[in-house]
């Protein structure tokens, strides 16, 4: 868990980009999340140490953003929009069906999000922040399966880069 030595070097590069170390909190949280699939307490403590902050400040920042997972999540985060356009086009159905389908899955976490600005393709959803839609539950599951078996390359859980989906 937490940051490896290579990550530490990368972290130092990130910190050096900013006039104040504190500014690097968000990129370092992304780094940790990409590494572990979630932001673990160890990672927050390491980040605090690197930046000369208290862990409470790192947690405060981290907890502001729902895109930082503070509990272990699947490698694929499926975000289903249930805002207006998607709702009238069946967003809630899509969400409910995907959620029950992947309830037991440790690879896929399904979450509900507010408008992701993809209204023209309602009901829309994201898989690790890549846009898809419109889709019914079957079509969406098909897309997710493609990510799972590697036919589609997914971004990291923070959406920052492409990654190999771990099996």
């Amino acid at each position: 868990m937490g940051l490896t030595d290579a990550d530490q070097r990368r972290a130092q590069q990130i910190i050096d980009r900013y006039p104040y170390p504190k500014s690097a909190v968000l990129p370092l949280l992304h780094l940790a999340q990409d590494r572990d699939g979630w932001v673990s307490p160890e990672a927050m403590e390491q980040i605090a140490e690197l930046l000369g902050l208290t862990p409470a400040l790192v947690l405060g920042t981290c907890s502001f953003y729902t895109m930082f997972k503070r509990e272990p999540a699947g490698a694929l985060v499926v975000s289903v929009c249930t805002n207006l356009s998607c709702m009238v086009n069946g967003g809630f159905d899509l969400f409910d069906q995907l959620r029950s389908r992947y309830q037991e899955s440790s690879d896929v976490s399904v979450e509900e999000v507010e408008c992701i600005a993809h209204c023209d393709h309602a009901p829309a959803f994201q898989v690790n922040y890549d846009f898809h839609g419109p889709a019914d539950a079957h079509g969406a599951a098909d897309v997710i399966e493609q990510y799972l078996d590697g036919r589609l390359a997914a971004r990291t859980i923070s959406g920052t880069a492409r990654q190999e989906v771990p099996r």
């Binding site: 006039p19 902050l53 208290t54 862990p55 409470a56 400040l57 790192v58 947690l59 405060g60 907890s63």
Partner: protein
């Protein structure tokens, strides 16, 4: 756009952030609600309005914190600006016309309050804040009176403890951020922060890391709702039950101003009062919550006399007779040199003076010492050029030759931190190990224990522009280049495991600097008062040496000792060998306080007579011949002297239980029984006598002390222009900002201050010249020889922890749980070299003794040294230290 940046203490300074303020004259004219006022350029509108009699409601803004504009309560209408502006983040500009009560503003205030109350639970009847709550008050004064919100309020589990002292009720929180900002900006312990967002924003601590800050109580005081409550005060009283007296805190030598509150004759609360030169409204948790010891069951309530080997309760006349008889007996058999008086550094000025007068004027002994080998030579403390706390803010540089201020003098730490961190004063840290102020230091110099001289030499050179070849030297030169002002050296006993000569020698190397001033960092509450008033060998009250003051005091008292007496170490040694037969212990326990416990034990065992003036049955009182219980802080009105030499009043708030005698009456009664009636009836008369007799106190009489708002800095002749009269301005009240009109500042318990025309703030104070020239410290001692570091031994560093084994902590349940077992703090390198692990018990042996302690890895302690808290309960550092040796070398062996 032509703007220039005006850096203000109020603006976030962490990143040297400044807000552009239009250039112009230093004073601008602003019209607030039709009244024109002259206001310094760059001042915040909300503050300017408050200073000129217009109260703008607010929650998040606090005079001592930087503005954030989070609550939106302080909206005002400014002509020519679109929409409403938050006055807490708007600097005044010339010609500004401001309306604070227009329709638009009142509508906005209604809306904000209705909005803030949406999620506020309105459980005021059970809330500790109910009755003194800014949200209640301002809702009544500015609110809409009703709410349109009918939905379910948010719910959290409540209350949750976020530390041993503070409870958090997240439902009541209005997210003003005062607590989080205080912890970050002022205390430098950002262990709380906002978590989540929107409607679920809450104050958080990190997982299981509680809000362990020495200043956490201040967040409770400044919380504008009841979201943060103090566990010791929880449900103890309602605000309307409380009676208040303004006083000074008695926990350390800073003497923070506070409002002491009681209900049913029980002290329940101490709130910080904003005294600009001293504490600026803040208190440390030890001072704030160290109240219950006053009512502890362990307090002695009757004098005790040893009869047939047993201490038995007695009446005051009998106990005083017995004490006087014992003293007379010793005088007859051993002469004046057979008696010594130890202690007084935890008392008040009046009893310090009278003990000095009793010892030196009546008994004729100069074997008197307020410090028990844990302080600095009186010659230095009384004679060095003294700085005041406000000097820190405008210093050219601050040099630390002191123990960890965060542990020993917490509120002084806040002031130094503010100077270094917010006001940009260069801070030079000369110490053995890292401490609370190290992160704010401009230059850090580390030295071996007992050898600070060389480091001080580097600092001395650098401060006159000679950087030398060291990096720190260059850093100091760079930081101080072009800065004016005094160099303030904070001088204290860095470690009780080394001889004070070392630090005095280091200080002497700085005396040559231009405008150098020293701020004493001795921690005992009234150690400075005790030294000033002659409870030290070779000195007489009022900072005059025995020789210089001989004529003056012979006239005043009738007699003074012939020769300079022994200091505490000498007294204890003489008592151990039987040369001194009688020891009078004035509120001190040598077994707990003297760094050399073996010596103290030998002295107490050998002394024929021990007269203990003690509020508790401590180990010294246990073996005493006579025990005389005095009144303590909160039970008597008196004065104390803080580390600047500022004399401030202590208020009386509760009537003592049982039969205790006002502490200053004990020496007076003894003197009367020994044939020398001081003829003093009231504490005012004692103060007047001090003002008349003690040269440094010239002019500082009861009447001046009663009227001076922030006390009087000694000597008055040098500080007369700093004395202020009248009530404090419309700043933050004890616990909340007042709705106008400003409530009375907590009054006097026995007489209300006489306010006369001469008490206008600008009135000149008559400052008589002291009748005897005050003592000056010259003749720096020679550098003590420090034995070279032994590769196999570790050098001991022993300092005090905030929550030590003293009576305030031990007899206060809320604080007693915060103490730690003493441990041996080792650098990871030494730990590995010794082959021990955290928690292992090891035997520590010095030339003086040996104790078993657990090992703890301590990153602050450098290799080659060992750290042990000196004031922890049980066996520890005092068993290892020899008062005479320059440093304490110790060896560590594992025990199986």
């Amino acid at each position: 756009m032509t703007t220039n940046a005006v850096p203000m203490s109020q603006w976030p300074s962490e990143h040297r952030y400044t807000i552009p303020v239009a250039p112009g004259p230093e004073t601008v004219t602003v019209t607030i609600d039709g009244r024109a006022a002259q206001i310094p350029r760059g001042e915040l509108l909300i503050k300017a309005a408050q200073d000129h009699g217009t109260y703008i409601p607010r929650f998040c803004w606090h005079e001592r914190l930087k503005p954030v504009g989070m609550c939106r309560m302080c909206l005002v209408e400014i002509e020519g600006m679109r929409g409403l502006q938050i006055s807490c983040a708007t600097p005044v500009a010339d010609g500004m016309v401001v309306h604070t009560t227009s329709d638009a503003v009142t509508t906005a205030q209604d809306g904000i309050l209705e909005f803030l109350l949406i999620n506020h639970p309105l459980d005021c009847p059970v809330c500790d804040r109910g009755g003194e709550c800014p949200l209640q008050d301002q809702t009544l004064a500015f609110g809409p009176g009703e709410s349109r919100f009918v939905e379910e309020k948010r719910h959290f589990e409540k209350p949750v403890p976020i530390s041993d002292l503070v409870m958090l009720d997240r439902e009541r929180c209005i997210q003003c951020g005062r607590c989080t900002r205080f912890a970050d900006e002022v205390a430098g312990d950002p262990l709380i922060d906002f978590g989540g967002r929107g409607g679920s924003t809450e104050v958080i601590t990190y997982l299981d890391e509680p809000f362990h800050s020495s200043f956490s109580g201040n967040t409770v005081q400044i919380c504008p709702v009841g979201a943060l409550t103090a566990r010791p005060y929880r449900f103890r009283a309602r605000p309307w039950d409380l009676a208040s007296t303004e006083t000074s805190c008695g926990a350390c030598a800073v003497a923070c101003r506070g409002s002491l509150e009681s209900t049913s004759n029980r002290l329940v609360r101490l709130l910080g009062v904003d005294s600009e030169p001293v504490n600026q409204g803040w208190l440390c948790d030890k001072g704030r919550y160290g109240l219950d010891w006053v009512h502890s069951d362990a307090r002695l309530r009757q004098p005790m006399v040893r009869r047939a080997g047993e201490l038995v309760e007695s009446s005051w006349p009998d106990a005083l007779d017995a004490a006087a008889a014992a003293i007379r007996n010793t005088l007859d058999t051993h002469g004046p040199n057979g008696i010594a008086v130890l202690g007084g550094s935890r008392g008040v000025n009046e009893d310090a003076y009278l003990w000095a007068r009793l010892a030196k004027g009546v008994l004729g002994t100069d074997h008197v010492d307020a410090q028990l080998g844990d302080g600095l030579p009186a010659d230095v403390v009384l004679g060095m050029p003294r700085a005041t706390i406000p000097d820190l803010d405008r210093a050219k540089a601050i040099v630390l030759l002191a123990p960890d201020l965060k542990e020993e003098l917490p509120v002084l730490y806040l002031r130094v931190r503010r100077a270094a961190h917010d006001l940009g004063v260069p801070l030079v840290d000369v110490a053995v190990r890292d401490h609370g102020l190290t992160p704010y230091a401009t230059a850090v110099l580390r030295h071996a224990p007992g050898d600070p001289g060389a480091a001080a030499g580097v600092v001395a050179d650098a401060l006159v522009g000679r950087p030398g070849r060291t990096k720190v030297g260059k850093a100091i030169v760079d930081a101080t280049d072009g800065r004016d002002g005094p160099v303030v050296v904070i001088l204290g006993r860095t470690s009780v495991a080394e001889h004070p000569d070392a630090i005095v020698h280091a200080a002497s190397r700085l005396t040559g600097l231009p405008q150098v001033r020293f701020l004493s960092a001795l921690a005992n509450p009234n150690v400075h008062g005790a030294l000033d008033l002659g409870l030290t060998p070779g000195f007489l009250p009022g900072r005059v040496s025995l020789d210089a003051g001989r004529d003056h005091f012979t006239k005043a008292w009738g007699a003074v000792p012939d020769a300079v007496g022994r200091d505490a170490a000498g007294i204890l040694r003489a008592a151990a060998t039987g040369e001194i037969a009688a020891l009078v212990l004035v509120g001190c326990d040598p077994l707990a306080e003297c760094p050399d416990r073996n010596l103290a034990r030998a002295a107490l065992e050998q002394a024929d007579t021990v007269i203990a003036v003690s509020a508790f049955m401590d180990t010294a009182a246990f073996g005493a011949t006579v025990v005389l219980p005095p009144t303590v802080w909160g039970e008597q009105s008196a004065t104390t002297t803080n580390l600047e030499g500022r004399v401030v009043r202590l208020g009386r708030r509760v009537t003592p239980d049982g039969s205790t005698l006002e502490s200053w009456r004990i020496p007076a009664e003894l003197a009367a029984r020994l044939g020398s009636d001081f003829d003093l009836e009231t504490v005012d008369e004692v103060q007047d006598e001090i003002a008349r007799v003690a040269p440094a106190f010239a002019g500082v009489d009861a009447s001046l002390l009663r009227r001076a708002r922030d006390g009087v800095v000694l000597p008055l002749a040098d500080h007369a222009d700093e004395v202020t009269f009248g009530r404090a301005g419309a700043g933050p009240g004890p616990s909340w900002e007042p709705i106008l009109p400003v409530p009375e500042v907590v009054g006097d318990d026995d007489r209300s201050p006489s306010t006369s025309a001469s008490d206008s703030p600008s009135a000149a104070v008559p400052a008589p010249t002291p009748p005897v020239p005050l003592h000056r410290w010259d003749a720096p001692p020679d550098a003590p020889s420090v034995p070279p570091l032994d590769a196999y031994a570790l050098r001991l560093v022993a300092g005090h922890a905030l929550y030590g084994a003293d009576a305030i902590v031990a007899a206060t349940p809320a604080l007693a749980s915060l103490t730690h077992e003493p441990t041996l703090g080792l650098n990871a390198r030494d730990r590995d070299r010794l082959g021990v692990h955290d928690g292992d018990r090891v035997r520590i042996t010095t030339a003086r003794g040996s104790v078993d302690l657990a090992v703890r890895t301590d990153a602050q302690t450098p290799p080659g040294t060992a750290w042990i808290v000196a004031n922890a309960a049980g066996p520890g550092a005092p068993d290892l230290i020899d008062l005479t040796s320059p440093v304490t070398e110790l060896r560590v062996e594992t025990i199986s």
